[in-house]
């Protein structure tokens, strides 16, 4: 794996934010620094960065995938009101699959509902 300015810019962007971004949003953000970067390059780098465990992907009921530069285990909450994605701590215990002899390499917890603000309305 080579260090290119494109890959560096993408990773720097994701790490600089405690937020979750779609490929297109990342593309738009990085384009401010590298105007001629292509969307294909963004996707290829995101895939590579996931493989290298530098970032994680967040699959929700949205049609697009979000990417997160914060890789410590945590849960996500998708607010159906304001569409915001929130982070929450994830309490890991002996998981059912591992008790059954399965090898758990990864786990995703996503809550859906209304955030505190939207819930009050």
């Amino acid at each position: 794996m080579r260090v290119t300015k494109q890959r560096t810019a993408i990773l720097d962007f994701l790490r600089s934010k405690r937020h979750h971004y779609s490929a297109t949003q990342i593309y738009d953000a990085v384009r401010e620094k590298i105007p001629n970067i292509s969307l294909g390059t963004v996707y290829r780098n995101l895939a590579q960065l996931i493989e290298d465990k530098e970032i994680i992907s967040v699959e929700t009921s949205d049609k697009c995938v979000y990417y997160d530069g914060f890789t410590a285990d945590h849960a996500h909450f998708v607010c159906e009101g304001c569409k915001e994605i929130f982070d929450f701590p994830l309490i890991l215990e002996d998981s059912e699959p591992s008790k059954a002899g399965f090898l758990v390499e990864n786990q995703r917890v996503v809550y859906y509902g209304l955030c505190a603000k939207c819930n009050k309305k």
Copy 2:
């Protein structure tokens, strides 16, 4: 909401199986009973059935959504070896978001790894 033979066939199919199917797989299965059903109808009914909480959707790192006629709370395990999706009980406790005043309407837990069989190889 009207009871059509298409909607009934889709729901019957999903309820008759303890398994998870993509829209295309459901389309293929239901076509054996209703040969001229269209994929668009399958998607429209799946969306409706989800809204009515008759079925649930399972989002994974796959590019397609899976549908599940078993609606009681449970976790999913996606085996990266054989690609099978397994059900596991889900131990629900006071979730972090609800402690924070968020309204949790739904929650999805997906594990990734190797099932017992693939893990042995």
